[in-house]
């Protein structure tokens, strides 16, 4: 253990069992100073338990948690310099904004003059300099959010934990707060650990994201890595949308191979997972809708520059959503495939048209099936 750790927060094989149920299994990670780190996973994956262990509300059953290089096991929550923004913010309704922010300072025995200066300072940094005397119920959703962050940041924490704080906001405000949180993190230059089940929150804001599933970390990486190079089938399926086929590998080498899907269609892929895939093993193939090109059955010349995979089908329905429009294509074997399309309003695809779907082997992510996945 060194005195000056480059990491603000480290977890070494942290586990937590509730009776015979293990909520968190041997999780390890380290977060460099000043970065925005997200833990993304479906509800019930153990991410909240992990966060409560970092904050000190739960004791780990095994492993170690270090803040600035020092183990905090046995340190009570009110002695850890890890502050937390709660899911429903937990602002104190019996105090005004000023008293909410001053609360932690008072607990630390800071002098009255210093409290005043620090509270005013942090209010200015969150661009709400004049709300000190307001009551909590007079604030808007976004303001409450910022006060909850300010209440923690005024204590100059080593790490700020955020437990799905945007969950209660409406969609529009949530989009705005995503950007604001990222800016606030830059401004305070403090390590943020953000917990969410919303992938777009995690992808937009984070420097690094950990994907958590059933108490384990599946993969840690930058948002781009997770999206384009998922290491497991779970990550591929959980991050972003994809079409999924099950099949058996017919041919395989170091760079990729060929698969026959359950529907009997051939499909080529490039290796995506860590281990090379054996011939004859059962696999899942994921293809993202934006990598599938849709070509009208008549436009044969466009097919010249096609990728390695091709499927024919009939447009089943259009899912119009502006720039994110999509079509559902029913293929010959009866399944529905999603593909992104650009709809210009002029000569667009219509339900019932015959189309070809084409994509490159590079965009087909293949993972060996594990047990009963």
């Amino acid at each position: 253990m060194t005195d000056t750790s480059p990491y603000d927060l480290e977890a070494l094989g942290v586990s937590k069992n509730f009776g015979s149920f293990s909520a968190v299994k041997e999780v390890s990670f380290d977060i460099p100073s000043g970065s925005f780190f997200s833990i993304l996973g479906p509800s019930g994956c153990g991410k909240t338990t992990l966060m409560r262990m970092i904050a000190g509300f739960e004791e780990p059953s095994g492993g170690d948690i270090r803040i600035k290089g020092k183990s905090v096991l046995g340190t009570p929550p009110n002695r850890r310099n890890v502050k937390m923004v709660f899911q429903h913010l937990a602002l104190f309704p019996m105090m005004n904004v000023y008293e909410n922010i001053a609360y932690g300072l008072r607990c630390n025995g800071v002098g009255a003059a210093d409290i005043k200066r620090k509270v005013q300072d942090v209010l200015e940094r969150i661009a709400l300099p004049d709300v000190g005397e307001r009551e909590i119920h007079q604030l808007s959703g976004g303001q409450k959010q910022r006060i909850a962050i300010a209440r923690c940041m005024v204590l100059d924490p080593d790490v700020l934990l955020l437990d799905e704080p945007l969950g209660a906001l409406d969609l529009k405000l949530r989009e705005a707060m995503k950007i604001e949180l990222k800016l606030l993190q830059h401004q305070f230059n403090t390590t943020f650990v953000y917990i969410t089940h919303d992938q777009s929150e995690a992808l937009v804001m984070s420097d690094n994201v950990a994907i958590m599933n059933q108490g384990e970390f599946e993969q840690i990486g930058t948002p781009q890595e997770l999206y384009h190079h998922p290491k497991t089938a779970f990550v591929a399926g959980f991050v972003g949308d994809s079409n999924r086929w099950s099949g058996v590998v017919k041919a395989s080498d170091a760079t990729g191979g060929k698969v026959e899907t359950e529907q009997g269609l051939p499909m080529s892929f490039s290796s995506a997972g860590e281990a090379a895939i054996q011939e004859g093993s059962k696999v899942n193939i994921f293809v993202r809708p934006e990598f599938i090109r849709t070509v009208r059955a008549g436009d044969a010349d466009q097919l010249a520059e096609t990728g390695d995979n091709r499927m024919d089908g009939i447009v089943d329905s259009l899912l119009f959503n502006g720039a994110n429009s999509r079509i559902l294509v029913r293929t010959g074997s009866g399944e529905l495939v999603e593909a992104d399309v650009t709809l210009t309003g002029d000569n667009d695809l219509k339900p019932g048209e015959d189309v070809h779907l084409v994509w490159s082997a590079k965009q087909a992510m293949c993972f060996a099936e594990q047990g009963t996945a």
Binding site: G56, P77, F92, P93, M94, Y103, G104, C107, R151
Partner: protein
């Protein structure tokens, strides 16, 4: 709604019924209060003109309540008893709320029912059972150790304990309901911000409970003030107001000074009840 596809006469009838009910509700209170201002020696019609003598008169036969030593003394004892009962009941109600909302222990449901039971025991029985136990204990000490434990004889202490024995249930229910609404993450947030356990209790949890504690205290105060059944058996020489009034009614018969006391009590408890409602509509409940 029930009256939705009924004809309008039904609704009119319904309204008349509701109005009649409220007249029924108000009538005895109005008659008890109004005769306090009748310039007559008897609380009865005909109306003899307006007077405040039954409040402030200082000579017989129209001795006003504020110059009637016995009534004032009763008022004083009622006040002292009610203050102690309210303080004790709020304290125990608060610990009970924490016990039943936060505590985990075997037989919790059984104990919770035990907590509610005093409310359904007739007040007369609470009175005599406590009287019996206190007297038995006092007699025991007298016989065995030759000690006269005066406080176990009927008197202020027994009245306070007797009233407390069932009023504590009321305060416990009120404060428990409030504590159940408490968002536990608020305490965690305070811990997280560096507060000690005692400080969290003092600055977060108790302030949250304060409206319910005040309201429970007012309810306890009022119920104690108006209690008769339990008090009747436990009272010593220091008779609270209800007992004094009852004695007066039984011995002297109804006189307008009793109307004056009634009016005074109605206004006082009305104001206190209103206060308890205002306190409960406090901002932090939203």
């Amino acid at each position: 709604m029930l009256a939705q596809n009924k004809t309008t006469p039904f609704l009119i009838g319904y309204r008349l019924y509701v109005i009649a009910f409220f007249i029924f509700l108000a009538a005895p209170l109005i008659s008890a209060g109004a005769f306090a201002f009748n310039d007559s020696l008897f609380p009865a019609l005909p109306w003899q003109g307006f007077t405040l003598d039954w409040f402030f008169g200082d000579t017989e036969p129209k001795l006003g309540m504020f110059h009637d030593r016995r009534l004032l003394q009763g008022l004083y004892y009622s006040f002292v008893i009610a203050i102690f009962v309210a303080a004790l009941s709020v304290f125990v109600g608060t610990t009970n709320a924490f016990l039943f909302v936060r505590g985990e222990f075997p037989g919790k449901n059984f104990f919770y029912i035990l907590m509610v039971v005093p409310l359904v025991i007739p007040g007369v029985i609470l009175g005599i059972s406590i009287l019996v136990l206190a007297s038995d204990t006092a007699n025991l000490f007298e016989d065995r150790f030759d000690l006269e434990l005066e406080f176990l004889r009927p008197g202020l202490l027994l009245v306070v304990l007797g009233q407390f024995s069932f009023i504590a249930t009321i305060t416990s229910l009120v404060i428990t309901a409030r504590l159940k609404k408490f968002d536990d993450t608020m305490e965690e947030a305070a811990f997280n911000l560096g507060a000690s356990r005692a400080r969290v209790l003092r600055t977060i949890t108790l302030p949250f409970l304060r409206p319910a504690m005040i309201a429970a205290g007012i309810v306890a105060f009022l119920v104690s003030f108006e209690n008769f059944n339990t008090t009747l058996f436990l009272v010593g020489s220091e008779a609270p107001l209800t007992i004094t009034m009852y004695d007066r009614m039984a011995k002297v018969g109804s006189t307008p000074v009793l109307n004056a006391v009634s009016f005074f009590l109605m206004v006082g408890s009305g104001l206190l009840a209103l206060l308890s409602i205002v306190v409960q509509r406090d901002k932090s409940s939203g």
